[in-house]
């Protein structure tokens, strides 16, 4: 599958609320996931599909997602960028936030091997 096709599939699944299906079908078992900031009890960089499943579970357990939108993909060679918009409420603080971020994905052997999430941290 070409990089752009993997990117299109990822955007399509995310916009259908199927980000877990995207993870299970498009990600390498050796996926490396990098956040702009570390989170409570979670390092900024994590490796392996099991760890990334854990991060997704933490996200879903701790946030109510009112809406989300993925824009792209914007491809170059074996990489592509997707822009995300989220409207979420943190279940612990009950604070509702609109946030935008950009993700840079790297593809190898038809699978996503690296995802990097860019956003304002302060």
């Amino acid at each position: 599958m070409k990089t752009i096709e993997i990117g299109k599939k990822l955007v399509e699944l995310c916009n259908q609320g199927k980000s877990e299906q995207a993870m299970e079908t498009l990600y390498s078992p050796d996926i490396v996931s990098v956040e702009a900031a570390s989170m409570p009890n979670m390092p900024a960089e994590m490796k392996g599909i099991q760890a990334i499943r854990g991060k997704a579970k933490w996200w879903n357990d701790n946030h109510t997602v009112h809406s989300s939108k993925a824009e792209g993909p914007f491809p170059m060679g074996d990489r592509f960028i997707v822009k995300f918009h989220f409207d979420i409420t943190n279940k612990q603080s009950n604070k509702r936030t609109q946030m935008d971020e950009a993700a840079l994905y790297t593809v190898k052997n038809d699978k996503i091997v690296r995802e990097e999430f860019f956003y304002v941290t302060e």
Copy 2:
């Protein structure tokens, strides 16, 4: 200057139509510029501020920009992403196009040393 401050300045200047001022004030003399595709008489990767000035001149000579919008910056470490929207007319073909792309910038010693433009090429 922090990476995010350089990114904010770049977005601000681009949204004021001052992309050349951004280039002259924020870019390293050794800037490397990479496009998703090569253009007529222009390689995908170019190096040095003189070459990048030449690319900007080519762009301005060959396109009428009706509007442009920069969104971001989305920072991580020494890099940041900006999403661009352009409404342009190619002066030769007279074809008007709306295009979206994402750019990944790398900062070193308070200057942008690398810019990479991600977009659909076919």
